[in-house]
């Protein structure tokens, strides 16, 4: 037990690497804060294009969404980070990670928004048109507010996944929380920094994870 604590919860090594972990945490938060709104926005654009498009456009968008959802985000990141330099287009790590996260989540958010917009009854569109709304303003003022409310649970769940995905940045040498913990582990020959990073991630994400889970339970109950 003592040996276990010495390895996994070693106070000395924790104190030594704490500043490094905090720096990592701030980069994790920064990545999330930048990628999340961009992903939401581009997903929303794709869903809008779907709902204003004619049927070939719609089929094309469904194909695009499924393609994006089938592509592992790490493969995308490796393509962006390691293969674009062959064209002399070397993106810095931060930009590469944000780009990969945004492209990947465009598929997920796009599908969620699309499903939400589709679930709003036809009569709402007709009622808005009868009140003299343009198609665009009907979308913004009438359809979207209802659509978003219907898909709050999957939106929240996907946003949580996006934040968790920022840990992939560690694989392109970007010193976010996980990468900092690995570096610290190699400096101290001790896995305590990894335990600490896991605990930080848990404390940070658990409230959201609980909240998402409550909303998902409600959604299942409504379907039963």
């Amino acid at each position: 037990m003592e040996l276990f604590l010495q390895n996994f919860a070693n106070i000395d090594s924790l104190l030594k690497v704490w500043p490094l972990l905090l720096q990592g945490l701030s980069l994790t938060l920064l990545l999330s804060v930048v990628a999340l709104p961009l992903g939401l926005l581009s997903g929303l654009m794709v869903a809008m294009a779907y709902s204003f498009g004619n049927s070939p456009v719609r089929r094309l968008i469904i194909m695009l969404i499924d393609l994006l959802r089938s592509f592992p985000v790490l493969v995308l990141l490796v393509l962006i980070y390691y293969s674009l330099p062959f064209f002399g287009l070397a993106l810095p790590g931060f930009a590469a990670v944000v780009l990969a996260l945004v492209i990947n989540n465009t598929g997920y958010y796009g599908e969620i928004f699309r499903a939400g917009i589709e679930s709003v009854p036809r009569s709402q569109h007709e009622a808005a048109a009868a009140l003299g709304f343009h198609r665009g303003s009907a979308m913004i003022y009438v359809i979207l507010p209802q659509a978003v409310r219907r898909v709050i649970a999957p939106l929240a769940s996907n946003s949580l996944e996006l934040v968790k995905m920022t840990s992939l940045a560690s694989l392109v040498a970007l010193p976010e929380l996980l990468r900092s913990a690995r570096v610290a582990q190699e400096q101290t020959y001790n896995p305590t920094p990894l335990t600490a990073a896991a605990v930080i991630f848990f404390v940070l994400l658990w409230p959201f994870s609980r909240w998402v889970s409550q909303m998902e339970k409600k959604a299942i109950k409504e379907r039963a």
Binding site: S83, S170, T195, S209
Partner: protein, 224 residues
Amino acid sequence: MDQIVENYFNLAVMAEALPSVFAGFLVTIQVALCVIVIGIGVGLALALLRSLENPVLDPMITIYIEVFRTLPQLVIMIFVYFALPYAGIRLSPFFAVAIALGAVLSAFAAEIFWAAINALPKGQWEASSALSMSHWQCLKWIILPQAVRLATPLITNRAIAITKGTALGVAVSLQETLGSAQSIMAIKANPSPLTLAAGFYLLFFIPLVAASRKIEKRMAQTTS
């Protein structure tokens, strides 16, 4: 244009890379199957254990579910592979990935199965016990057939999303599709093997994503 073909669709390089990327693809499929079997098997078992409402088991299951639902996959994988050896647990890259991702999927699956079991009206349990069915008989014949139907779309989506995480195996030097492609890319100084790897992933995941879309559609029709 020539540059794109030269770098991304270089047939000579692709032909050379094919055997090892294909070998990697077989590893990806094997890990993916392990993850799905472990994840759904353990997840269902946990949900069933939870239905016993045992005061000792319940908190333990809850902690397991919360931890693995909340932590990023990569953090768990790195922890399993790089930190557990300090506790004398050494896993091969293959099992480290299968167990880490299996644990994540099992946590999500347990939560979804449990929510589905709970979403069914209490009257069904009461009616079964009035027919003198035991707890397990009721689960097996009455509750599970309905709960599994309710849970299927959510579990399929999670299973696909988590299985895509097998690409994270590169972080623990598993020679799966992405890892094999990356090593050849480094040797040949040409990213065409990555295109090949991306093709294999799409071959595997596009049918799954398309199938999950169908399942969702059918569920939406039968429940509304």
